[in-house]
């Protein structure tokens, strides 16, 4: 049973991602947080996530209210325990320099956030298959 952490400031998107992931692979446990600091706390078992499981992979929005993906990635990758953690960065804008920054900070993949359910499902499932299985 895989745990997935989805980091996005939009509750609507978190809801959609949860539904897609849970339907794609029944039994998947989807955890959602809305900020970069919360994501770090989740990964490092800080309060209030002391009992949080280690996720199989992370879906990370590029533009979070408190930080952008590269800053968060730098802090996560600084910990050797998370060196191999698959992290998929989704970006609303898809600026080439954002992609470069995210990938060089340690993102496993950078994808422009799809706006259709089928496309998003394909992206998530493909990423899962390639990186987390």
């Amino acid at each position: 049973m895989t745990t997935v952490l989805v980091v996005d400031d939009s509750l609507d998107f978190l809801g959609v991602a949860r539904q897609l992931l849970e339907r794609a692979r029944p039994g998947t446990r989807v955890h959602t947080v809305q900020s970069g600091e919360a994501a770090l706390a989740f990964l490092t078992h800080a309060e209030p996530y002391a009992a949080a499981p280690r996720p199989g992979f992370v879906v990370l929005d590029f533009r979070l209210p408190d930080m952008h993906a590269p800053a968060l990635l730098a802090r996560v990758r600084a910990d050797p325990a998370f060196a191999g953690l698959p992290i998929l960065v989704l970006s609303q804008a898809g600026w080439p320099e954002d992609a470069r920054a995210a990938l060089s900070a340690g993102a496993s993949a950078f994808v422009v956030k799809p706006s259709r359910a089928n496309a998003l499902r394909t992206v998530l499932v493909d990423f899962w298959r390639c990186h987390a299985d």
């Binding site: 609507d12 998107f13 959609v16 539904q19 533009r63 609303q92 080439p96 706006s115 259709r116 359910a117």
Partner: protein, 458 residues
């Protein structure tokens, strides 16, 4: 140029001009004396020595003009020096008896006017008068015996009268000369003031222009940031609407209700249209924000790439694209690529349904490269020709009644912006019912290497 600089330069120029005029005047004077030798019999040897010395002195003064031209009483000193020397010449040539040569005293006065104020001009005139009077006194009293061949006997009364007339004449000429010199200096000063005033005005205008350019740049940056934020913040919720509606559509209970399903499809279509529009706008901002170095490149491969990209849609709509040989163009490759993509997409959307035909062709001459995209669609009425290149400008729906042909209204606006940024032009020719042809003309940059020119002509 600051005020003292201009005055110094005028003064120096005048000093040099005065000495050179003296040199030419003295030379002419001497030639005249030499030519008149058989008739008037002036003593040539001492005259020649004297003139040689005067010409040499004037040449030295011409060379050193920057050193003494701006000295305070240069005009009076220079004029008086000449007056004394000329009086001596007069004495050598025949004294008061050669008084008709008095006219040469005008020149020192004129030189003084070139160099100095009215006061200095009158000073020179009176120095000339004094010199002549002293010569008269010296000759009449016998101190300086009259020399030369033209010796007329002059009585003291005649000498006094001659001296008086000469003195008055010199002053009279000083009046003319000084008013001329003053006028010259005044117009120089006025010119200088005018230049200074215009320079100040120009500087102020430049500063204002620079300030406005900065303000404009700041406003543009602000606008770009705002548009970026707006498109980003609108894109997010529209994305969510689409995703949520998609998921809802997939639910079995919704699938069982055809009416609900159809309405959901409508929501998805509307949100999708909005999303397309935002995406196009977004891509447009991205494209405009990035800048690459312009260069020559082949248009053919760019068109071929685009055709491959839209191949599935072309096949789905049954549109055939025919590409004629295309020239090389000068510009930013990605942006011109966007122009090609948008024009081809537009042509594809409007080509006749089921039997669509799009032709891409190009020509070039010495000034510009032109390419065109022709479709066999319904055409565009002339009254819409300008509007379709505006942002969100579209031919109203009742004109062709087919919803799915509507673009986002961004594509052609992007085309126009990019082409105009390349100093080019874009326009449409259309026969209603027969199709439209979009033309793009891009200028050839004026400076290019021979190799480029050869490549282009080939």
């Amino acid at each position: 140029m600051s005020q003292p600089d201009l005055e110094t330069s005028i003064q120096t120029t005048n000093a040099r001009r005065a000495t050179l005029l003296s040199v030419s005047g003295l030379a002419t004077y001497f030639v005249c004396l030499w030519l008149s030798r058989p008739y008037l019999g002036f003593p040539m040897r001492p005259t020649a020595q004297l003139f040689a010395v005067m010409i040499a002195v004037n040449l030295v003064l011409a060379v050193t003009a920057p050193r003494w031209g701006t000295v305070r009483f240069a005009g009076a000193a220079y004029g008086t020096l000449h007056a004394v020397l000329i009086t001596f010449v007069l004495h050598v040539l025949g004294g008061l008896g050669a008084g008709f040569l008095l006219f040469v005293h005008m020149f020192p006065i004129f030189h003084a006017a070139m160099l100095g104020s009215t006061g200095q001009v009158f000073f020179t005139a009176n120095a000339s008068g004094l010199c002549f009077a002293l010569l008269a006194i010296a000759e009449v009293s016998g101190m300086l015996p009259a020399r030369g061949t033209l010796v007329w006997t002059v009585t003291p009364a005649q000498a006094a009268a001659a001296a008086g007339i000469a003195w008055a004449g010199f002053n009279f000429f000083a009046l003319y000369a000084s008013s001329y010199g003053e006028g010259m200096r005044r117009s120089a000063r006025e010119l200088q003031d005018e230049v200074a005033a215009r320079t100040t005005a120009l500087r102020a205008a430049n500063a204002e222009l620079e300030r406005k350019a900065h303000a404009l740049e700041a406003a543009q940056d602000e606008l770009r940031t705002l548009l970026y934020a707006v498109t980003h913040d609108i894109k997010s919720p529209v994305n969510s609407i689409l995703l949520v509606a998609d998921l809802l559509c997939e639910r079995p209970e919704v699938r069982r209700e055809p009416l609900v399903h159809a309405e959901l499809e409508r929501i998805i279509r509307l949100a999708g249209g909005t999303e397309d529009m935002i995406r196009d706008l977004f891509e447009f901002f991205q494209l405009m924000a990035t800048r690459e170095a312009p260069d020559w490149f082949e248009l053919g491969p760019v068109v071929a790439e685009t055709v491959e990209t839209i191949r599935p849609q072309l096949d789905a709509r049954g549109v055939v694209i025919e590409v004629d040989p295309l020239p090389r163009v000068w510009g930013e490759r990605r942006k011109i690529g966007r122009v090609v993509t948008n024009l081809l997409t537009n042509a594809m959307q409007h080509a006749a349904a089921g039997r669509g035909r799009v032709v891409v062709a190009g020509v070039c001459d010495a000034q510009q490269v032109r390419f065109s995209v022709r479709d066999n669609g319904e055409g565009i009425a002339p009254r819409y020709h300008a509007g379709i290149f505006e942002l969100f400008g579209r031919v109203p729906r009742e004109e062709h009644e087919q919803d799915e042909r509507d673009g986002s209204g961004v594509g052609l606006a992007v085309v126009r912006r990019i082409v105009e940024a390349h100093q080019g032009q874009v326009w449409v020719e259309s026969d209603v019912g027969l199709g439209s042809t979009f033309h793009v003309a891009l200028p050839i940059p004026p400076r290019r290497s021979d190799e480029d020119a050869g490549g282009l002509a080939a």
